[in-house]
């Protein structure tokens, strides 16, 4: 119960930070609430952007996946993200920042509408982005419920843990907006990076040392393959190369790119992003694999037996927490549980992003802001925060899919397929709204089809993300070639003669 008290204290601290940020904000201006007045400094920008991107998926999902499939998890998601995500931030994130700053734009859809001189096509893109983001928010609530339930030894049930996390996140997003969210994310990232190293050391010692753990894994025929990548095909591994393209198309990441005070603040973020990934993912993946030797933990032994009996992967999202509860002293387990909770609660920026998109792309675009004023716009944004959180919570209560699967199946595939829209809008003068429309309609249809197709569906051995991204890019390119371009004035604004 002591660890749970630490986690509850942590929740109170982040709530305070959010409200503190609210007090510091300069007034009801929409740009201040939704973008922290485009004023984030270099370290806050790095740590909060990283904290925003690393979610329950990174901590609980990765160790759960590694528990079932082994070390392949690191190469599948972490190392490839360490290359692709910073490249996207460098070549696309900086351009997003630039056009957002120059033209006073807040959301990706606003940029698309302005760049391609379209209205309702932007609305369609909004609905697609919003629909793809909801599963990710659900992941956060599920992760919160799992964390509190395990860390309290079942004293706090899943439904109550998820509810507490949802309420805390909702409150500081409601009051603090982007500034509160950014400061909370910064605090969370520092906490997790700081205590993560202690967690790994303690758990390693508790299990008899890492060398001993690896030896036992290698000597057991049932677990030796977890230290290789035999359980995964090369084509499946290659497919995952496409997933990190989703980063720039995630609304919360794209919107976050607009919060930097200066474009030069991207430099530090781009360079240190891979190191942050290494520090978080490597321990999580190794510990997920090592959990297969923790047969003295009844919950883990039951999972191993169930997997052996059925031959199928078992839900493993809680293995990291089980290790923590078993091998770390109570107060340290509490601090580390709070650190895990920190990563889990990255759903805050996603909820804020949805709220920002709704108020800017729908409410303001269709006349709400002009008719009712900016205060009403922010009120609408806050109301939307409550509605989205409530929806995510009640859906999470009934979700049966593992965190990793939920993220990969819908969010990553859909957003990766949307990345060609960003490349086209920001880097290609010849792109048109009709190309964007064709790609958006295709991605929508493919995502719906994905829902009905069996899990693990592949195309010639490749995961759906591969054909979806390639076809989406081909549609943007091909249809744009055949359709009329935006006005010369707009193209000139986005690609002034001096630009590369």
């Amino acid at each position: 119960m002591i660890p749970a008290l630490f986690v509850l204290a942590y929740l109170a601290i982040v709530l305070y930070i959010g409200i503190f940020a609210f007090r510091r904000s300069g007034g009801p201006a929409a740009e201040d609430f939704f973008l922290a007045g485009r004023s984030l400094g270099p370290w806050v920008f790095l740590l909060s952007l990283f904290g925003t991107h690393m979610t329950a998926f990174a901590i609980l999902g990765s160790s759960g996946h590694a528990f079932n499939f082994g070390i392949v998890t690191y190469g599948l998601m972490a190392s490839i993200s360490a290359l692709v995500v910073p490249v996207c931030l460098l070549f696309l994130g900086t351009r997003l920042w630039s056009v957002g700053k120059r033209f006073g734009l807040i959301t990706p859809v606003q940029i698309f509408r302005d760049r391609w001189e379209c209205g309702h096509i932007g609305t369609l893109i909004f609905f697609l982005q919003a629909a793809l983001l909801v599963p990710y928010i659900i992941i956060g609530v599920m992760g919160g419920g799992t964390t509190l339930s395990v860390i309290s030894g079942g004293f706090i049930p899943f439904w109550l843990g998820g509810l507490l996390v949802a309420l805390v996140v909702m409150s500081y997003v409601f009051f603090g907006g982007m500034r509160g969210t950014a400061w909370v994310n910064t605090f969370q990232t520092v906490l997790f990076l700081g205590f993560g190293a202690i967690a790994v050391t303690l758990i390693g010692q508790g299990m008899g040392g890492f060398t001993s753990v690896t030896e036992r894994l290698l000597n057991n025929p049932a677990t030796a393959s977890l230290l290789t990548r035999e359980k995964f095909s090369l084509t499946a591994f290659l497919s995952y190369t496409f997933n990190p393209l989703s980063a720039i198309a995630f609304p919360h990441i794209a919107i976050f790119c607009l919060t930097a005070r200066k474009v030069t603040q991207f430099k530090r973020t781009v360079i240190f992003y891979p190191i942050c990934i290494l520090l978080i993912w490597l321990p999580c993946v190794y510990l997920g694999v090592a959990a297969n030797q923790a047969t003295d933990i009844p919950a883990i032994e039951a999972k191993i037996e169930a997997r052996a009996a059925t031959g199928r992967p078992v839900p493993g999202d809680d293995v990291m927490l089980q290790l923590l509860n078993r091998y770390a002293p109570g107060w340290i387990a509490g601090l580390l549980g709070a650190g895990i909770m920190a990563a889990v609660m990255a759903s805050d920026s996603q909820i804020l992003a949805l709220s920002t998109m709704f108020t800017e792309d729908i409410f303001a675009f269709y006349g709400g802001k002009a008719r009712f004023g900016e205060s009403a716009q922010i009120f609408t944004g806050r109301l939307f925060v409550i509605l989205v959180t409530a929806f995510a919570y009640f859906t999470a209560l009934n979700a049966k899919v593992a965190i990793f699967d939920l993220a990969v199946q819908y969010a990553f595939a859909g957003y990766a397929a949307m990345s060609p829209l960003f490349v086209a809008a920001l880097c290609w003068r010849g792109s048109t709204k009709w190309g964007a429309l064709a790609a958006t309609l295709f991605i929508s249809a493919a995502t719906v089809a994905l829902y009905f197709l069996p899990r693990g569906f592949t195309v010639a051995g490749f995961a759906p993300v591969v054909p979806m991204t390639i076809i989406s890019a081909a549609l943007v390119w091909g249809v744009s070639l055949l359709t009329p371009k935006p006005s010369a004035a707009t193209i000139h604004r986005y690609f002034p003669p001096a630009s590369v």
Binding site: I71, G75, S98, K101, T211, R229, L234, K262, T264
Partner: protein, 68 residues
């Protein structure tokens, strides 16, 4: 020229990510416990950070500072 080299380096790292030659073995172990499939990709991650430092130094998108 600089941009072409940058994309070449990114392509080379993408290729290096598909390390099929390490696929079915855990050896050699690093520090006595990290299987090759993990430490190779940990090194890959560090290489990515070094490449990013190079890209920021030599391929920073020009002209964006005017908007600061």
């Amino acid at each position: 020229m600089k941009n072409a080299l940058a994309w070449l380096a990114i392509g080379a790292l993408l290729l290096a990510h598909q390390d099929w030659w390490n696929w079915s073995t855990a050896y050699p172990l690093a520090f006595g416990f990290l299987p090759v499939g993990l430490w190779y990709h940990a090194l890959f991650t560090i290489a990515a950070a070094l490449l990013m430092a190079g890209l920021v130094r030599w391929c920073w998108p020009s002209g964006l500072e005017r908007d600061e």
